[in-house]
Amino acid sequence: MPLTIYVSPRAAGAVEPQTPAVATVELARLFGRSAALAGVSLRVQAGRTVALLGANGAGKTTLLRILATAIRPSFGTARVDGIDVAERPDQVRGRVAYLSHATGLYDDLTGAENLRFAATLLAVPAPEREERIAETLATIGLTGMAAERVRNFSAGMRKRLALGRVLLASPTLVLLDEPHAALDEAGMQLVDALLAAWREAGITTLVASHALDRLQPFIDGSVRLESGVVAEIAGSGVEPNPEPRGAIGLPVGTGASV
């Protein structure tokens, strides 16, 4: 199975080695009444692969979405390669690829058209675009489905196509939300191969998953969340963030004469 991981020039050496790929300080996010994240302070070293564990609703997806700049933090801060996700989301987006539960594909476009659309928006240079699309389709094993509309894809195929989009992005940080879910054995082996390739290419990867045993050989460390806070940290590559916790900056401004 041809597996080429494109390390974009931005990824290689663009950031001083000791800057953590991910650094959060008291990161919290509220949805109406519930606190999805209630103050998470973590640091992930660059180039490492870390598993994000925890029951449903523990805050795994919320953490990934904040790092992917899909949603803004309610309190606290999060930085990717030293760039604050709330202040410079546009810069962070250029460095992150995010595989979410929702694949964000267009049902009426074919597999190849969806990838072509993604490649255009990911600024894949035109001359090599078609070649990379074909190559990505081969990697994710969907060459046969290239001309088929995504409406007729199975959940597993949609996930593979979403993985293809991640490959086209050539990010410095890969965020995967339960990549093994809905995939057949071959699909899961594809994810394993990708995890190994990303790790070897020095691309930091954060994988939210319940399949810890399957992930074991590919991860450097793991962190378990419980009801929005860090419950347990294991292995290397990830540690509590000692940065000054201090007060949660209440973003309402001060000095209101009441």
Binding site: E26, R33, S227, A247, I248, L250, P251, T254
Partner: protein, 265 residues
């Protein structure tokens, strides 16, 4: 304390202006007493415009500085603006009935423009109620407030032209009232009422701003309370010191009792 003085000052000026407009100034030659309504109608229409400009600028302030105090100003401006717009429409109808014989006068740009304004900003207020996250609500309100404010001059122009392009649009002066022939008392009556209503507007804006700020702080305190209760429920982790930097006068939520209920709005 200063606001209270402003409040009474506004009250006195409004009363004075009303007396002046109702009794002191002579009735208009052709419109008769009905013309007296113009003072209060035009004054509230102008203040409505002013409020919506404040809302638009405060919205820009939020988008640039990301400080919720701007959002409080924007909310105050919009709510008070809607009140003044509704009152201006009422005044317009009360004036149109005796002078034109109908409650609604399509050609009168003041009436039609203010009616559209009412629709625009009721939409603004409804949209605010539909989003719960304070920061997203502020962002959405800011952009809608901006587009609506930009729409006002276009609406004003199009309605004036609508009346007939060849008739020179008396842009600038509030239409027939301030035409050069108007005797000085009329102008004085209008300016006095304008001053009075502006003072009242300022007082109301400050009070509504304070209310909005207080509600935001209560909301934030409630959110912090929920944050703390979430953390307290997972006691095993090293408890992290969350000192809520709610500004000085605001409530300091404590861990033991749950925080204030979410203020029902």
């Amino acid at each position: 304390m200063r606001t209270r003085i402003l409040g009474f000052g506004a009250l006195a000026t409004v009363a004075l202006a009303a007396m002046f407009g109702l009794f002191v100034v002579p009735a208009d030659l052709n419109q008769g007493d009905a013309q007296r309504i113009m003072y209060v109608h035009v004054a509230s229409a102008w203040i409505a415009y002013l409020s919506f400009i404040v809302t638009a600028l405060a919205g820009i302030g939020w988008l640039v500085r990301r400080d919720l105090r701007f959002d409080a100003v924007a909310l105050a401006g919009a709510e008070i603006g809607v009140i003044f717009t509704a009152l201006a429409i009422w005044g317009g109808m009360m004036w149109a009935r005796p002078v034109w014989g109908t409650f609604w006068q399509w050609e009168d740009p003041r009436l039609t423009t203010t009616a559209l304004l009412l629709a625009l900003y009721i939409g603004y207020l409804l949209l605010r109620r539909l989003s719960d996250d304070p920061r997203r609500r502020a962002t959405r309100a800011a952009v809608v407030g901006l587009v609506a404010a930009v729409d006002i001059p276009i609406v004003h122009f199009s309605v004036i032209w609508w009346r007939g392009l060849h008739q020179a649009p008396t842009f600038g002066s509030p239409d027939r009232l301030l035409h050069p022939a108007a005797p000085m008392q009329f102008v004085a009556a209008l300016l006095l009422m304008l001053l009075a209503v502006t003072l009242a507007w300022l007082y109301l804006m400050i009070r509504r701003y304070q209310l909005a700020r207080l509600e935001t702080l209560l909301e934030e305190a409630a959110r912090l309370g929920r944050l703390r209760s979430a953390r307290a429920s997972v006691a095993r982790t090293a408890p992290v010191d969350i000192t809520a930097a709610v500004d000085a006068a605001a409530p300091q939520p404590s861990r033991s009792t749950s925080s204030a209920e979410e203020p029902a709005r």
